[in-house]
Amino acid sequence: MGEFAAYTVLGLSLGGVFALAALGIVLIYRVTGVLNFAHGAMGMFSTFVAWGAVYRWHQPVWLAVLLALGFAAALGLFLQFAVFRPLAGRPAVVKAVVTIGILLVLQSLASLFWGNTQYHEPIRVVGGRSMLIARVPVGPDQVLIVAAALVLASGIAAFLTYTRFGIAMRAVSDDPVAAGLWGVPVWLVGAVSWALGSVLAAIAGILITPFINLDTVSLTLLILDALAAALIGGLASLPLTVAGGFLLGLAESYPSIWFKNSLGFPKLVAIAVILAVLLVRAPKGLLQAGRAST
C-alpha cells in the first residue's frame, strides 16, 4: 500500500509537469492555430538556459529561473513575429511542419551548447528534506509542481475570464477574423499566447529536472506526453487538460509497481492514451475550430 502511495505521489508530480506543458500547447493552438511540436524543445532550451546560469555562470537559482522565463517569453515572441506571422493563412499542417523545423534547430543548438549525452545536474528550485504526509515521503519539489500546475491553470483561467486581454484572447480563438474586425490586435494576442505558452513549457521543464535524467533529448520528447494530456482536454478545455495531465502522470507511473526492473513504459502509455482519445472522440471536433470552452 505504501508503494502504491509513493507511486501516486510520483505520478502526480509527473502529471503536474504534463499539465503545465499541455496548457501551453492548448493556449497556442487555440489562439494561433499552430499545433506546436517544438513545445518540448522550447521548454528544454529554456530549462538549459537556467541550467547554464546556475552551473556555468554560478548565479543563484532564483535569478537563473527568472532569466530562463524571460528567455522563454522572448523566444515565444520571436517565433510569432519572425516565423508565424509570414505564414499567416497557410494550412495548419504546414505550420505544424514548421514547428518540426524549430524543434530540430533548438534540439541541435542545445546539444552544441550544453552537450546531449553527458550528465546534467538538476535545478533545485526548492531545497529541504521530504516530509511525511500520511506516512508517505513527499518532496517539497513535488508539492511545488502540483501547486504550480493548479495555481497557474486557475490563474490562466481567471485571466481569460476576467481581464480585457483574456477576453480578447478568447475572441481570437473563436474567430480571428471577426475579432480583428472588432479591433482586437490579433497579432499581439497571438504573440502573448506564444510567450505565455513558452513560459509554461519552461516552468514545466525546470520543475521536472529533479525527477528525470536531464538531457536535451528527454525534455524534447516530453512533447508526446504533453500532447496526450492536451488531447484529453480536446485541445480546448483548460480544466480537462489539467485533469488529463494528472491522469496521464498516474497512468505512466503505476506500471512501475509491477515492472520493477524497468521504468515502466511511459511513452507507450502516452501513445495508447493519444490513440484512445483520437479514435474514440470524433476527430472532426478537434480539427475544426469549435467553441473555446476555456
Binding site: 497557410r90 518540426i100 523545423g101 524549430i102 530540430l104 534540439q107 541541435s108 488531447l231 490513440l275 480539427l287
Partner: protein
C-alpha cells in the same frame, strides 16, 4: 499533357540514363571509405524520402515515422540473414513484406485521422519503436541484443556486396533498385490508383463521394510507403556491416520529413536530391575546417531546421518544385513570339 504512351518510356529512358551517369560518377573521384559509405547511405535515405513523396506528396498523409520503417527493413533483413541464413535477396524480400504489413497496421489510425493528428500518432509510433522495440531486451531475438547484428561477406548475383571495400557496389545496386521504384512511383501518379490517391489528398469527402474506397487506398498508400522505406532499410546492413538502433531513432524520422518537405514533397526527383543532401553534406561539413573550426553534425541539423522554416515561408513547393516553376517560367518567356515594342 503528353501522350500516355510516351511518358512511361521517357521515364524509363531517363532512369536508365540516371543509372549510367550516377553509377559511373564515383569512378571520377577516389572516394575515401567514409564517402563511399555516404554514397550508399544517400540511396538509403532517398528510399525513405521517396516513401514520403508517395505517402505525403500524393496521398496527403503526414508520417513522422519513416525512419522506423527503415529500421524495420534493416533489422528484418539482418535477422533473416543471421538467424535463418537466408540468401540476402530473400532476406530483403522478407524485409519489404514485413514493412508492408506493418505499414498497413500503422495506417489503420489514418482511417479516422488526417493532417496534424495523424502526425501526432506517427510521432508516437516512432518514439515507441525507438524506445521499446529496437532498444528493448524483450526483442533481443529480433534485434540481436545490444551488440546488434553483423552482416558481412554478402554476395548478390556473384557481386560482393558488403561494407568491407564494396560499399560502392551496394551504392550501385541500391541506385538500380531506387530508380526502378522511382519510375514505378512516377507512373503511379498518372495511373488510376494515382488519381484516387490524389483525390484523397485534395478532399477525402469528395474522393469518397466519387466512389474511391478510402480504407483500401489509404491503407495501400501506408503499406506501399512502408515497403519502399523497408526496401531502403534492407540495404543498410550491407552498407554499414551491422545494425544498431541509433540510425533509426525518432530524430531521423523528423529529419526525413524535413528533407522531403524541403526538397519538394510532391516530386520524385526531390527524393534523390534529399538523399544525397542528407548523406553527404554532414560528412563534407565535418571535413571542411574553415579557419580550423570543426563543424559538428549538430550544425547540419540546425541548418536543416532553419532551411525548412525559410523554405516553407518563401518557397512552399520545395526546392525542386520552385526550380521547376522557375525553369518553366523562363522557357515560356523564351518561347514567346517576339512582338516589337516600340
Amino acid at each position: 499533357m503528353s501522350r500516355p504512351v510516351t511518358r512511361p518510356l521517357r521515364n524509363l529512358a531517363l532512369a536508365a540514363a540516371a543509372f549510367l551517369v550516377l553509377g559511373w560518377a564515383p569512378n571520377l573521384f577516389h572516394l575515401p571509405l567514409d564517402l563511399q559509405f555516404d554514397a550508399a547511405l544517400a540511396v538509403i535515405y532517398a528510399f525513405a524520402i521517396l516513401s514520403l513523396v508517395l505517402l505525403t506528396g500524393y496521398v496527403g498523409q503526414v508520417s513522422l515515422c519513416q525512419a522506423t520503417f527503415l529500421g524495420i527493413g534493416a533489422y528484418t533483413a539482418a535477422w533473416l540473414f543471421n538467424v535463418f541464413h537466408a540468401p540476402y535477396l530473400l532476406a530483403m524480400a522478407g524485409a519489404v513484406a514485413l514493412s508492408f504489413l506493418l505499414g498497413i497496421v500503422v495506417g489503420i489510425p489514418a482511417l479516422r485521422l488526417r493532417g496534424i493528428m495523424l502526425a501526432v500518432v506517427t510521432l508516437g509510433v516512432a518514439l515507441v519503436f525507438d524506445r521499446y522495440f529496437f532498444a528493448d531486451h524483450a526483442f533481443d531475438w529480433f534485434t540481436g541484443g545490444s551488440a546488434g547484428w553483423r552482416v558481412d561477406g554478402t554476395v548478390i548475383a556473384r557481386i560482393p556486396m558488403d561494407w568491407i571495400g564494396h560499399a560502392l557496389n551496394v551504392y550501385r545496386f541500391g541506385l538500380l533498385l531506387l530508380l526502378i521504384v522511382a519510375v514505378l512511383v512516377v507512373n503511379v501518379h498518372d495511373s488510376g490508383s494515382g488519381r484516387r490517391f490524389r483525390a484523397i489528398r485534395d478532399s477525402e469527402l469528395a474522393a469518397a463521394t466519387m466512389g474511391v474506397d478510402l480504407t483500401r487506398y489509404k491503407l495501400l498508400a501506408f503499406g506501399l510507403a512502408a515497403a519502399i522505406a523497408g526496401l531502403g532499410g534492407s540495404l543498410f546492413p550491407l552498407a554499414a556491416g551491422q545494425v544498431s538502433p541509433q540510425p533509426f531513432n525518432v530524430f531521423y524520422s523528423l529529419q526525413f520529413a524535413a528533407f522531403a518537405v524541403l526538397m519538394g514533397v510532391r516530386y520524385v526527383p526531390a527524393a534523390a536530391i534529399g538523399g544525397f543532401f542528407g548523406a553527404f553534406v554532414p560528412t563534407l561539413l565535418g571535413r571542411w575546417h574553415p579557419w580550423h573550426l570543426e563543424i559538428r553534425y549538430d550544425w547540419f541539423q540546425v541548418a536543416l531546421g532553419a532551411l525548412l522554416v525559410a523554405q516553407l515561408i518563401a518557397a512552399p513547393d520545395g526546392v525542386w518544385g520552385d526550380l521547376r516553376q522557375r525553369v518553366a517560367h523562363l522557357l515560356r518567356r523564351r518561347a514567346k513570339p517576339k512582338v516589337a515594342i516600340a
